[in-house]
Symmetry: D2
Subunit: 283 residues, 4 copies
């Protein structure tokens, strides 16, 4: 069992030494450390993971000690998590199955240390996939007009299943600001373009019209600004003049599922730190 600290603070000499000394002198064995200084803005970022077996400070007091001893002194933002806590992830889908299958195939193969107890959809079409994998599939038929009421039902479901974070696997409804505010940096979306190109609806049509030679996909945390949240991962595929819109859609599917799964994997492994509207992805 390990603890993972993610933090940032104004850059100052000695900060790595101080934190590693804190861990080591209390009996923690550091198994991973990734650090980075943004010299232009003077910000120090770090992620450290250490084994807790012989760590002198009890788990439930680590945050408090760290806050008192270091966070205040160095004007630090920090977050400590424990790998003993297995996160619970909900998937939101609409009618397209490719991302959903990719996520569930990885889940079934044990690729991730996560639990997926709930799928929510605004359509019943993919109910069969829930049955195939034995995962509760709740149809919540959100529309523009009944959003508040339906989201209330979703909150109830998310709470009941103890969901930690949400993955929008080509979910075609816009979440309300209230919804987004409940899960800051905990809703991962896949947008089927190379953001910031082709924001909004029908990005493959936009790409086709513009005559680009590459299509892209972008996974990002959802914020109140549509398609403008912190980017986690992007990738592209080569296309040609021969590709119609429907071929772009088809080629894009492979991109979408890979890019979404990479983001989900990084989130599960607590490798992402969000600062401002950007992500730091630790190695």
């Amino acid at each position: 069992m390990t603890a993972i600290l993610r933090m940032h603070c104004p850059d100052c000499p000695g900060i790595i030494s101080v934190i590693t000394e804190f861990i080591t002198s209390n009996g923690g064995n550091i198994i991973n450390l990734d650090q980075y200084v943004d010299h232009s803005n003077g910000v120090f970022y770090m992620r450290v993971e250490w084994e807790l077996d012989k760590f002198a400070i009890p788990r439930e007091k680590i945050r408090d000690y760290f806050e008192t001893l270091y966070a205040r002194r160095y004007d630090m933002w920090f977050h400590i998590s424990f790998t003993s806590h297995r996160q619970k992830m909900a998937i939101f889908v609409s009618k397209m199955s490719h991302c959903l299958y990719d996520l569930l195939a990885r889940y079934t193969a044990g690729e991730w240390d996560v639990e997926i107890p709930l799928i929510i959809s605004n359509h019943p079409d993919l109910e069969i996939v829930g049955r195939q994998f034995g995962i509760p599939f709740e149809v919540v038929p959100v529309t523009r007009d009944n959003k508040a009421e339906m989201e209330a039902r979703e909150f109830e479901l998310l709470d009941r299943y103890g969901i930690d974070f949400i993955v929008l696997a080509r979910y075609m409804q816009v979440l309300s600001e209230d919804f987004i505010a409940r899960y800051p940096n905990r809703i991962i979306n896949i947008h089927h373009s190379f953001l910031p190109a082709f924001v909004g609806a029908k990005p493959y049509h936009q790409a086709y019209e513009r005559g680009v030679k590459l299509i892209g996909a972008t996974s990002h945390y959802v914020t109140a600004d549509l398609d403008a949240g912190p980017i986690i991962e992007q990738d592209i595929a080569r296309i040609s003049h021969k590709d119609s819109v429907s071929e772009l859609v088809k080629k894009g599917r492979d991109l979408e599922k890979i890019v979404l799964s990479r983001a989900v994997g990084a989130h599960i492994a607590r490798k992402i730190l969000t600062h401002g509207n950007k992500t730091v992805i630790f190695s």
Copy 2:
């Protein structure tokens, strides 16, 4: 010596057969044919290259015959060129040397069937590169205020050297509409972003601010709309949160030179056909 036909027309049955029959029955040996039908818009595109040694129609009459026999009948746009004509290319640069060196190194190595008799710059900084490679380097200090006068000088130079097409190798001046109109689909630019993302000035700064995980470069024909002409080639490179703007600039250089050179190579080989605001890149 070969002839190269590039054409498009409303799609109709038998068109390939008719054109290949025309070439073959007149003694031409087809060495390359690439064809493609845009089914959604009903347009047929083709590029055919054939050997002229035993071709019955004299070179200077081929266009006329083709126009009379086929182009009118099929409502065709077409262009016929001959590889015996070695094209002349001018390079426009400002202060950055990476694209210029890449173009000239390929030229010197004989990679392309082209002649480069002229380099034009709005700054004297890279004059030494002209001298290194023994190519006339003309400084034409265009500014916003003297554009008409300076472009007149450029036209004179371009005419004197018999320039067929122009490559903007990180040239930092916007050409006038008049200039662009003189060289339709014959001015190739490299823009240092994945268009249509980050149009305009300082795209690496824009990319840094948005926190993208990939940077791109786009080569395109120049049209009156800034950074909006038909895209010829694009590519991307992976970056991370660790990369400052100056590292993006550095990583972008390799992209820019490769993407520009691919476009220039395709243009020289007469593999590009422009229709509307898009390119068809034949293989």
Copy 3:
């Protein structure tokens, strides 16, 4: 409904014209043509697809006519298939599920014009996947010692289900020469390396030992020489010194499934022609 001709013959002038004339003059509308000449070996390759609605020659006589009129004259190898025939594909698996899920997710989503009536495995572990998707899953516990007997059972199954071609989705048994001879260019394998590097067992271990910076995957037709058949598709992923063998295995999974699915898609669309030990992949 369309016909697809794939052919190669010694290169000679007029061949495109002759074949397109044959199709067009008999009322066939060509909707796709891709052609290529291997100038160093003097071989002409072509794939043509045309609509059969108004084609004058009855479907069952096309092969015969083509043989008589052209194939003999031009010393041609050719193959004509009809999209009205929906091919039947069997999947062979062992214990790893990632390729199997990827194939079945695409199948379920209707991405391919194919039928998958049969999964065969040497282990019962993935039986549940067959049940999830409602596809017969036959366990045939082949070992080195009972190969002849077990393969006889497989032949019986393949015949009963009318299988056209076989996909080895990380199937860990070597097929006998007899088996391979029954399905020439109709067994697609995925090898988890960038062939010809790391032939044989445990390629990720070999890659780790050698300290490569990229890992690869290769899909190919199975021939009697292990991992030496005609290559259909390859791709790579970037790794670093930080990746242990088990991380290579994990990163490799995404590669394997994408590379295998691209090959399967090309095979289903009849875009592959095999000549000698190489493939021509038409566009």
Copy 4:
């Protein structure tokens, strides 16, 4: 001015803390730290860079102190270098100019903190490039028969110009074991294949014969085993059945120059650590 420590030792708790404490408590400001544990072999690797302005230990004594205080205790291999020392690099070429031009264009543009005072070639063909860039170009016509004598001349030149490391930019002679032993991990070669595929002569021909769908390039440190030294960087480009050997050669050039330059850049920045036959590339 900064110091850069690269080290590895048997993994043990507290090592990061000990070293960062050494630097920080002596007034050094750490500006970069990258660390990695190879858990399967129990080896700890680290690269730390710190500012020397206020560092209490004089530059010339740092190695000695570090050796006495830490290296012995932790059974460490280490190397400390100072960015105040500008390394001197020699380029070896034969007849192909693309890598040479790429290196010199970067050098001229000030991309690297390095000096290039010497080019050596076994042929006079590229002498003009030396003149273009004002760099001494020495022709040393090595053959199989006069190798010992000619290498003696090369050693004399390398010593006279104070060369730190050597870049083989498509140099077509095999160096003797004696030569290699003088520059351990200080000779960088570019091999035009995705090693370990296609070791030895004519890799593009080998790739063409095998019918691969990607070609590669590999930069590595030269060791006594041909093409088997520690790999620094690799990359690939997509090819198709349409590409003849000469087109592979042409496409490969872009790959070769990029892959070689990335390796050279990493070497100059002291980001590479070699252990066994592998490299660790710090970020």
